[in-house]
Symmetry: D2
Subunit: 103 residues, 4 copies
């Protein structure tokens, strides 16, 4: 499984792009894949094809009314690993023996 953080924004639509970000989150939230939204992007967990199909859906939707789009994707594949959306954060907290700010 992969953890994939994606951030996608249009250029040329002004400083406020929340409307376009919300449309992507609507797609991700309905995709059936597990995910976590954070202030700089959305981390999705899944296999390669499933995750990139959802990201392409967001891109295809944005292309309909945006002429320039900037996309940032970071992925972390780890063989056999699962439930890392919560597992990675908890693992850091266990090491430090205290809770950290997560939401």
């Amino acid at each position: 499984m992969l953890l994939v953080e994606v951030s996608m924004s249009p250029f040329g639509k002004g400083e406020s792009v929340g409307r376009y970000v919300a449309r992507s989150l609507d797609i991700i939230d309905h995709s059936g894949l597990d995910y976590r939204l954070n202030p700089m992007g959305t981390v999705i967990e899944g296999e390669w094809d499933a995750v990139f199909a959802v990201i392409k859906q967001c891109y295809t939707r944005m292309r309909r009314d945006c002429n320039r789009i900037s996309i940032s994707i970071r992925a972390d594949y780890r063989k056999g690993a699962r439930n890392r959306l919560t597992g990675k954060v908890h693992s850091v907290e266990r090491r430090l023996k205290r809770r950290l700010k997560t939401t």
Copy 2:
């Protein structure tokens, strides 16, 4: 104010780098800056000098026993904006009129 997401990992220390990530989070958590840890990085809010001083501290600590380090930083500056660690997520939820997965 800036939102700055940072992710920093050593190469050559095996597949599991949680020990090194925990040291960075310890530095960030004690920095006094507001932040949120997510499964792919940590988003810090603050002015340029304050945020990059903390990131440099993490880097300096990691350099002590790591010969190769990979760092990814994404920053979003918005004039006059504050409290965006929670504000950006809430703004997306308000637009979609429902709660999203955040933690």
Copy 3:
């Protein structure tokens, strides 16, 4: 058309990962897509499906003998734009009326 910069490295294979990077470049170079290698990644130009098919090939190859992989992708879509592998650099040089360091 999109410009897509990709960087893909295994964890747990030591500090030197050039062997794995070379295999990806071999795939990209044989893909038929236009690209430019730089010291921090490879920029590929093409449509979404073509570019991401090549990136998936690199990932699939690396998975065969790497248990943890870190991938960074940044994409810039611009409607109707072509030949931006050379065009974007030349455009900056034209504005500054001098040559810059590019290779």
Copy 4:
């Protein structure tokens, strides 16, 4: 020494941001640090303080007339390594025993 790739663009200034990118390149080109411009960013080689001072200069200049700025930075530190702006590309070419597209 570090290799640091930086890409910095304003939001809210339309689809074409070449004017702002050129100003950053002017600063980087005059900084005295070695660098290479590519179609998706600029890779700078140097020590942490020197490189981040130049990036901050670009940011400070852009802030003067841009209310929202997006910045992407990826860094690769390797102990004792130098001349990696050309060295990393050549190393891949040597492994593949052929020239690749670089400019």
